[in-house]
């Protein structure tokens, strides 16, 4: 029998040679666990992410915006499904993955624990939240686990409209009445810092970074991705005449990047631990949706088996 050590060396050699790992390949248990955690958390984020935006579907300002928002929220449901399927290839059932979310054992992105107070927030979510997610997801199209990488390619193709429709909303508001411009600025003020937190703790404090980089699950660090996001987004804010709410934000000629102020990590951990403005509301909505859908799932199974019996009898 091949020793685990040899298998691990073979596995790492595959990764180093830029070969994808596929579901039936041998993989270290920690690689598998690490992926289950990351992919399921990613899936949960897509699904919970529908809630803050769903909040505005009935109140979208016109039919064009409503159709766009509906399509976007439907995409998020699809993205959740691609990711749940990828997660399932790692040997965990869909049911247990969803149970882990509903019991609070699994996390989702903390950004969705902030409320959408005005229509401008829908713009800010597309522009900033999806913008930040795209940074991360473009990197993940090259992740080492095949099914995860393929899900990411699909998601990235669909995601770019999400960011553009959001930026368009904010751009239109910022050219509107003084009240509308204030609304756009207020949304940027509230979403800027939580968006930067989406990239996770600084590299030195990130629990999984070193291992994830060695296994090429992640290929760029939290701080690198965050910097890229800031550099691109600051320019986009300037174009539409909005001000990024960071007094320490300054172009650093030498580094070729923006320097930025320190993130409030106390707030970050506080929201992660369940004390954000909407944690309770989001979980309540997810649990209610799951429970209220139970009879539909059961009825579909009953109907399918009835049809199968009839077909057999015929």
């Amino acid at each position: 029998m091949t020793e685990v050590k040899d298998l691990e060396a073979l596995f790492q050699a595959k990764i180093d040679a830029e070969q994808k790992i596929e579901p039936k390949d041998w993989m270290p248990e920690k690689y598998r666990k690490n992926l289950v955690r990351q992919v399921s958390q990613h899936a949960h984020s897509e699904v919970v992410g529908m809630l803050p935006e769903g909040n505005w579907i009935t109140r979208a300002p016109n039919l064009r915006r409503k159709a766009i928002l509906l399509a976007k929220v439907q995409d998020e449901a699809g993205h959740g499904l691609y990711l749940y399927s990828a997660c399932e290839t790692l040997g965990v059932t869909r049911e247990s993955t969803i149970d882990d979310l509903l019991s609070g054992k699994a996390k989702y992105s903390s950004i969705f624990n902030y409320p959408t107070l005005t229509w401008a927030d829908i713009g800010a979510i597309g522009w900033l939240v999806d913008g930040a997610a795209i940074m991360n997801q473009v990197m993940l199209t090259r992740t080492s686990y095949g099914p995860y990488a393929r899900a990411m390619v699909r998601i990235c193709k669909e995601e770019s409209f999400h960011q553009r429709q959001g930026y368009e909303i904010i751009a239109v508001l910022s050219k509107g009445t003084p009240e509308q411009k204030d609304m756009a600025q207020d949304a940027l003020n509230r979403w800027w810092w939580p968006s930067l937190m989406m990239f996770g703790p600084h590299d030195g404090e990130s629990a999984h970074t070193a291992e994830s980089m060695k296994w090429k699950i992640k290929r760029e660090s939290n701080d690198e991705l965050r910097q890229k996001f800031i550099d691109r987004t600051v320019q986009q804010a300037e174009v539409i005449g909005l001000k990024v709410p960071d007094p320490d934000l300054k172009w650093n000629e030498e580094r070729g990047h923006y320097d930025h102020g320190e993130i409030d990590w106390k707030e970050f951990w506080n929201v992660v631990e369940g004390n954000g403005p909407c944690n309770h509301e989001r979980m309540k909505a997810r649990i209610a949706a799951h429970e209220n859908g139970r009879w539909v799932r059961e009825a579909a199974v009953a109907y399918a088996s009835k049809k199968a019996r009839k077909k057999q009898a015929a």
């Binding site: 439907q74 247990s96 799932r297 199974v301 109907y303």
Partner: protein, 97 residues
Amino acid sequence: MSDNPNNWPLWEVFIQSKRGLEHKHVGSLHAADAEMAIENARDVYTRRQEGNSIWVVEAEHIHASRPEDAESLFDPADDKVYRHPTFYTMPEGAKYI
């Protein structure tokens, strides 16, 4: 596998993007039966005109080769370069060959 009978089985989805092309694996989903699997596949995998035809197969009916058998299955082809047209030397000046 879950033993809860109310869980929908897993289906693998194959989409033909255009007439004349092959059906290609795009992903999977859960559904109570084949009809629902096709409807869900329509919603999940063809929202942007990606599809012209859908196949669904219950995942448990797919049999796959084992990664550890890859060598014995595929290595025998490695030393048979003469199966490729570029292996052959053509006389100078010959056309359309």
